[in-house]
Symmetry: C2
Subunit: 174 residues, 2 copies
DNA sequence: CAACCCATGTAAATCGTTACATGATTTG
DNA sequence: CAAATCATGTAACGATTTACATGGGTTG
């Protein structure tokens, strides 16, 4: 899976501009894949060159003009080939957890501080995801609802584990 | 955070060869960061050139010789600078979840099949992590235990959410 | 009028994966 | 004797981030 596959998937629903694709990377999709403008625009150019999408320039009155891309039959085929290809292995990359892993090389106070911040951060994330989940709920497919739920659940797991860890660190301080 | 930081962290405990570093990427660390030989060896060469680590060639009888690297004072400083630098944002990249997100473009049967496999996969992962957690438990620091617990918990969350999703899909089939 | 949103792109640099290349030793 | 483990590296390629560059329109 790469940005090509995901962008084709987004264009399968409806034509979009690069800017609109960027804003489609919100929860719940953003939780599992994200791309910046520096990826999106070159990828659109490449997909067009490959014949998977077509560009149409749309003139707007009150806003800058935009290039709206739609998926072609060839693009649909390519997307379906991706959907049936072998799954990539999942990766969860966490600087925060790596630092915890190396926590022996920090003071207990600092570790406690880190964990507290991690908990706060995860709580903010849960609020954000729940809010977005409510906001998009009507338009979500059943499988998208699973994605949204997982985003929330993963963060809640994290909160539970960190709170339990924090409790143990604090006990040892007394 | 990048492979340089993580490798320095591993060398902080004890000197290791590239091959030994690779095998240090097991649970729970591997769950949050991983590196291949193609990353490890060039990174070691770079770290040595930068003066963060030192190479010693160790001759072995029954095995091929190896290059064992130890961290220098400069390397320790560099690692501590990393530990106190701003946190990178976490990324959870999941091909599986992205395909679920685009699930509208698949048959319900296929989706059910996918979700079942996802559940099985997560269960295998839980077994593996629990086993490794038991195996390393004695030698783990308190914060490493948090890492190990989180690996298990995240997978269990995933199993719960997928099982609930599966239930809903199956209901609709009847 | 400042800040923010809309809108598109490029270029350099970094980072990492995969495959290739090699070879000794041990274990079943 | 085959397979697995130990051991080190390179090279090509692909992917992505970050910063740069530009500029119109809207909103408070």
């Amino acid at each position: 899976m790469n940005s090509q596959d995901v962008i084709l998937g987004l264009l399968l629903n409806r034509p979009r501009s690069g800017y609109e694709i960027k804003s489609a990377f919100e929860a719940p999709l953003a939780y599992f894949f994200d791309a910046s403008f520096g990826t999106i625009y070159p990828t659109l150019a490449k997909l067009e060159k490959l014949g998977y999408i077509e560009k149409e320039n749309v003139v707007q009155d009150n806003r800058p003009n935009k290039n709206v891309y739609s998926i072609t039959d060839s693009g649909r085929e390519r997307f379906m080939a991706y959907m049936n290809s072998p799954l990539d292995v999942e990766t969860y990359r966490s600087d925060f957890m790596v630092r915890l892993f190396f926590g022996e090389h920090q003071s207990r106070e600092k570790l406690i501080e880190w964990i507290r911040r991690g908990i706060e951060q995860a709580k903010r994330e849960v609020s954000k995801l729940r809010e977005e989940r409510k906001r998009w709920d009507a338009g979500m497919s059943p499988s998208q609802r699973i994605c949204a739920d997982l985003g929330v659940e993963l963060n809640e797991s994290k909160i539970r584990v960190l709170e339990e860890g924090l409790r143990q660190f604090e006990e040892q301080l007394q």
